[in-house]
């Protein structure tokens, strides 16, 4: 059984016992435990079920590479699925539950899949679910959906907060093991701005566990001294619990800091996403041990040798009383030695190598009385939910059992792979290191920055250095080189610390154990634990022609689980290479993509949640609208009142009331959102003549003109009223959504094409509150407030004037988008609400009512005015809308002119704007198509028009609509048929688009 040892546990604070629960069962641990070590200490070896076969699983590793130990963590607003037990720090009250089983972890019906595994090989789903076709939707997909997935989806809203942080530095060092620390010390002494980040909650990495002596002190003491030295450097920022997640172009690096995962009740954000710009990145990310491929290597109790050592030394946890070590290298002997020192039994070390003489560590093990069997291997592991023993065979043979050894744990080591992820994210290349049978960074082909030089440098084990002394020297040299290249100077005589060397005998690559294992053993030898991919699956993929490693990966799902193949990658591609009879480097690796380890979506979202999820733009009168019954609609990021709904009224009722009142009495519209762009300069007139289809240079000061703006492709992009302010100044109104876009459009032409024209633009949209006073009583209302002359004689239709009304300094435009007598009044935004209030009071006995955007739409539709975004959709030219009157024939050029002359644009069969009235008086469905005769080549019904705007007009008490119809203006009075999703097609008559006051008498009074 796994248990807590009486001694050991360098990371534990035994003075701080903690209680937690797993599947409802109360357990105890200590501060400093990970959830993995605490579960093992409580003899909870079984932690979950595998994805495909529902095999019982336990942890195989002790760090971020762990594929099996995934749990549902927490509850309600703090529920999180797929939490990795090896990276989850224990805290008091932690609640965890195992995943992917039914009805229970101990008895799982899904485990039947394991019995059927012979029938569920790689590619099974691809082959099986092809036929019959109809089965996919009704049979296969529901079954797969039911069985798929690891953790549960959260049901409650996340109660935590998250944030980003932008940091800049000269040198960013990822990884706080001895390599990262030595690099930070060296870089720090150069005076560079350094950030050092470490994903776990402690410094030093593996060195304190693996031992050794540096500069005459033990490795853990050396680490302690180093941390103290670096912490005193003001130019080095150290950060624990912060993982380097991804390296991107231009030295952009994402760091993922977990602030309160281990203390959920603490104040402040849970995660912080570091967005770092570093001149140079040093990856001191260490290495990951590889499993060995032998039958039963996934049975709980089989672990990486380094993990067994970590649990014993760091957490004082024994994984088993009797541990068999199986290895192809010297390093795993450390585990055997550590276990013996902890008083545990190691019945044998199975070393696949046959060495001419004992290595230093081997001799040490033998001296401790441990039996070492050279040239031996595991034939199979015995047990199901727990290791009970191993069958031993010769590595060279096919697996004939020589001996059975009773044990409850197996510590395996297939060698080490440098963590090259961050090096590779941005294009760093790898080379195959034959001596260590691993890929390591090819320092001659680093990821390159804008200057063509490398901006990432690996250090220590991450660059393929495995002996402590080599690690320290490599890290020192890396930091030295980087700091020097950035122009920093190191103190003279600064050298790398010297570590005592331990003689190691070379490892021997072992990709299958035993070497000649037959199908039966290969079917039980796991490569990817989480996705249940075995040696036999990869060989099948090769046999079926998946020669590329990227294809084989997708066919078998090798490395596609949440651990992204940290353990399986190299073993998988070595197996593929073996099956293809190719060299490993020729097969190559799959692509390393960020993030290194899953990060929370919420961290990516950062602060953008709740009331700051998205910026909402508010006018100066927004609060008034809110308190006066406004129902809002989004227009860009603005929220505009759709209608002001009174109690007892439906929204529709409110809209109808607002239309009728504005036509009969007086309406008030908040038009502040309309774009307002000052265009000024000696060439402003010429510039606007290019921007608009009509002539703006001839507009007289004091006058307004409606204008259309097209893109260079001829399509209508915006419209609005332009006022000439003085000789050199125009004010262009744009649509609400167009303000920023059109300002940008103008600047783009000015900066790239007509850079020598003397024109300035200034976007003053938000400087003014703009209020439309609309209706037969509009003038009376303004006159009641008193001030400037707003009579027809002094301020005619399409005039503007500066002046004072009711003591407010205003600019008044006599323009109308409703067909009524109308004044649009601009006032400095800081006085907008006060002026609105004054109008409301003055208009009280004149029937004043505010109106919203829907009323605005109906008023303009009754008048046949087009709306950008309704009548236009990016494919419409002004000629389609019968706006030829607004296109200057005199001008030599304007943006879009040439495009509009092209044959397709000049085609008389382009659909044209008309009015439409349903013959039964109903309101036509929005977007409905007019159906034509026959079908097109795809067998679809031909169409000959569509509805672009449709409303019920309370003024005319019937449905009115605008639409684009083939030869429409020539077909006045004709009845055509519109499709209707709700039922039978609707008949509508083609009419003039101006439904109300065609002569314009009402606005011109």
């Amino acid at each position: 059984m796994s248990t807590r040892l009486a001694t050991g546990g360098r990371l534990l604070n035994k003075a701080k016992p903690l209680s937690f629960s797993f599947n409802g069962k109360q357990m105890r641990g200590y501060q400093g435990d990970t959830l993995a070590s605490a579960l093992l200490a409580n003899d909870q070896m079984l932690m979950g079920r595998s994805f495909k076969y529902h095999r019982p699983r336990s942890v195989v590793a002790s760090g971020a590479e762990e594929p099996n130990g995934l749990v549902n963590l927490g509850r309600e607003g703090r529920f999180e699925p797929n939490a990795r037990v090896t990276t989850t720090e224990l805290f008091d009250g932690l609640e965890a539950a195992s995943q992917n089983h039914w009805p229970s972890l101990e008895f799982d019906v899904g485990a039947i899949n394991a019995r059927l595994s012979r029938f569920l090989p790689a590619g099974f789903y691809y082959k099986m679910f092809m036929y019959p076709r109809s089965f996919w939707k009704h049979v296969y997909e529901p079954i797969i959906r039911h069985s798929a997935g690891l953790g549960k989806a959260p049901k409650s809203r996340d109660v935590d907060t998250y944030e980003h942080f932008h940091a800049f530095c000269d040198i960013l060092i990822v990884g706080g093991g001895v390599a990262g620390l030595e690099a930070a010390r060296t870089a720090g002494l150069s005076g560079a701005r350094v950030v050092l980040m470490e994903q776990t909650d402690h410094w030093g990495g593996r060195a304190p566990v693996d031992g050794g002596t540096v500069e005459g002190v033990a490795a853990d003491q050396f680490v302690e001294n180093l941390v103290e030295e670096i912490a005193a450097m003001p130019n080095v920022q150290m950060r624990l619990r912060c993982m380097g997640a991804g390296v991107y172009d231009h030295g952009y690096v994402l760091g993922y800091e977990r602030l309160t995962d281990h203390q959920p009740d603490a104040a402040g954000p849970r995660h912080r996403l570091w967005r770092i710009r570093a001149s140079h990145v040093i990856t001191a990310t260490g290495a990951i041990e590889r499993p060995l491929s032998f039958a039963g290597n996934d049975i709980p109790g089989v672990m990486l040798a380094s993990a067994v050592r970590d649990y014993a030394v760091n957490f004082g946890v024994s994984v088993g009383d009797r541990t068999v070590v199986v290895t192809n290298n010297d390093n795993a002997y450390l585990t055997a030695i550590a276990l013996r020192h902890a008083g545990l039994d190691v019945p044998a070390i199975l070393d696949a190598r046959v060495l001419p003489q004992d290595s230093e560590l081997m001799a040490q093990a033998k001296a401790l009385g441990i039996r070492v069997l050279m040239g031996h291997a595991v034939a199979s592991v015995q047990g199901s939910k727990r290791v009970t023993g191993v069958a031993v065979c010769s590595q060279a043979g096919e697996g004939a059992v020589l001996e059975e050894i009773t044990c409850d744990a197996v510590a395996m080591s297939g060698g080490w792979s440098p963590v090259v992820h961050l090096w590779s994210h941005c294009g760093g290349k790898l080379r195959w290191d034959t001596a260590h049978a691993c890929f390591s960074p090819d320092v001659d082909q680093p990821p390159k920055g804008a200057d063509g030089l490398g901006f990432v440098t690996p250090a220590g084990a991450a660059s393929g250095m495995f002996a402590l002394d080599d690690v320290l020297h490599d890290a020192h040299a890396a930091a030295d080189g980087v700091a020097t290249s950035l122009g920093f100077k190191l103190p003279k005589d600064l050298t790398a610390p010297h570590a005592e060397r331990r003689e190691e005998t070379p490892m021997a690559p072992v990709w299958m154990m035993p070497q000649g294992a037959g199908t039966k053993l290969r079917e039980k030898a796991w490569l990817d634990y989480q996705n249940d991919v075995k040696v036999s699956d990869v060989r099948l993929a090769a046999q079926e022609g998946f020669v590329s490693v990227e294809h084989a990966k997708r066919y078998t799902t090798l490395g596609m689980a949440t651990d992204q193949g940290k353990l399986s990658n190299i073993n998988g591609l070595a197996t593929l290479a073996g099956a293809l009879d190719m060299e490993i480097p020729a097969v190559g690796t799959t692509t390393f993509r960020p993030p290194y380890h899953p990060i929370s979506m919420a961290a990516i979202g950062g602060e953008a949640r709740g009331n700051v999820f998205q910026p909402i733009r508010r006018t100066p009168m927004h609060h008034w609208h809110e308190t006066n019954g406004a129902e809002f609609e989004p227009v860009g990021h603005w929220r505009r009142p759709y209608a002001y709904v009174r109690s007892g009224e439906s929204t529709h009722d409110a809209v109808m009331r607002e239309v009728t009142n504005t036509r009969k009495n007086l309406g008030l519209l908040d038009a502040s959102t309309l774009g307002k762009i000052i265009v000024r300069g000696p060439d402003a007139g010429r510039f606007l003549d290019m921007m608009y289809t009509n002539m703006m240079s001839t507009l007289k000061p004091g006058k307004c003109r409606y204008g259309l703006m097209c893109s260079e492709n001829g399509f209508l992009i915006d419209d609005g009223v332009v006022a000439r302010i003085d000789d050199q100044t125009w004010l262009c109104h744009t649509t609400t959504g167009g303000a920023d876009r059109i300002h940008q459009h103008m600047e783009e032409w000015l900066q790239t094409e007509w850079w020598d024209w003397q024109v300035h633009t200034v976007n003053v949209t938000e400087q003014y509150a703009q209020i439309a006073v609309v209706g037969p009583n509009a003038r009376k209302c303004l006159e009641k407030l008193g001030g400037m002359d707003v009579s027809a004689e002094a301020l005619g239709f399409m005039d503007w004037a500066d002046g004072e009304i009711g003591g407010f300094k205003v600019r008044v435009y006599r323009i109308s988008f409703s067909g009524e007598l109308s004044y649009e009044i601009a006032i400095d935004a800081s006085h907008g609400q006060a002026f609105w209030d004054a109008l409301t009071v003055a208009g009280n006995d004149l029937g004043i009512m505010p109106y919203g955007t829907e009323c605005l739409h109906i008023l303009r539709a009754e008048k046949g005015f087009i709306m950008i975004g309704d009548e236009t959709d990016g494919t419409i030219i002004p000629q389609d809308l019968g706006l030829n009157w607004a296109i200057s024939k005199k001008k030599e050029d304007y943006l879009g002119k040439r495009a509009q002359e092209r044959s397709h644009m000049a085609d008389p069969t382009r659909w044209k704007l008309v009015g439409l009235e349903a013959t039964d008086g109903s309101t036509l469905p929005d977007g409905a198509y007019a159906v034509g005769e026959g079908t097109n080549e795809n067998g679809q019904r031909n169409t000959m028009g569509r509805v672009t705007s449709t409303y019920h007009s309370p003024t005319l008490d019937k449905g009115i609509a605008m639409g684009l119809v083939l030869n429409g203006p020539d077909r006045m009075g004709e009845v055509i048929s519109f499709s209707n999703l709700e039922g039978a097609p609707v008949e509508a008559r083609i009419v003039d688009p101006v439904f109300y006051d065609k002569e314009g008498k009402k606005q011109n009074v």
């Binding site: 003001p234 402040g268 950062g606 700051v612 733009r617 603005w638 400095d828 800081s830």
Partner: protein, 199 residues
């Protein structure tokens, strides 16, 4: 005329790791033109009472100042009530030369973030190097604040003055409060001698 009302009525919050308050109204004038032209430099300096700053800088004195906005744009600051006449003065001083002055005082909101951890609050929202050794009082940036455009400068080592569009004032106030929530100190920037922070 009524009393001018700022977007948030000068609301403030001091519950977090830095104090956030809406200030103003502030007189602000966009001045576009050739920043190397002596007529423009003279006019701006004479009216604002400070020299035209170098790129990415802001010169200020009392409640007047000039901020560098772009290679052809300055922001001239003055008391709110004087903005209108300041535009006229600028126009007069520039005469027939090609330059444009426009009053934008009402179109913007102005905030102040202050305290020893103000730099950290700002660095959570803006992609700007705010290391005390790099970004110093008198420096100015046009950048973004989370999802909206903004500009800011440091008036002293613990205080940022931020400009944003008026319509997003509520968003900016709210997002500054989130960034300044208690318990969120990053501890990244060294505190100056004698400074202590409420984390």
């Amino acid at each position: 005329m009524s009393e001018p009302v700022t977007a948030l009525n000068n609301t403030s919050d001091a519950t977090g790791i830095a104090a956030v308050s809406e200030i103003g109204p502030v007189g602000m004038i966009t001045l576009r033109g050739d920043l190397n032209a002596s007529y423009l430099r003279k006019a701006a300096a004479q009216i604002a009472g400070v020299d035209v700053p170098a790129p990415l800088g802001c010169n200020s004195s009392d409640n007047r100042g000039i901020a560098w906005m772009s290679p052809d744009e300055l922001l001239v600051m003055c008391p709110y009530a004087e903005a209108g006449e300041t535009v006229e003065k600028l126009e007069k001083a520039i005469g027939s030369n090609f330059a444009t002055a426009a009053n934008v005082s009402d179109g913007r909101a102005v905030f102040r973030v202050s305290g020893p951890l103000a730099r950290e609050v700002m660095a959570k929202l803006s992609p700007v190097d705010l290391d005390p050794a790099i970004f110093k009082p008198g420096m100015f940036r046009r950048t973004r604040l989370a999802q909206v455009p903004a500009a800011f400068w440091m008036t002293d080592d613990e205080t940022f003055q931020i400009f944003c569009f008026r319509s997003v004032a509520q968003y900016v106030f709210d997002v500054l409060k989130v960034a300044a929530q208690s318990g969120s100190a990053v501890g990244h920037f060294p505190l100056a001698e004698g400074q202590s922070a409420n984390t």
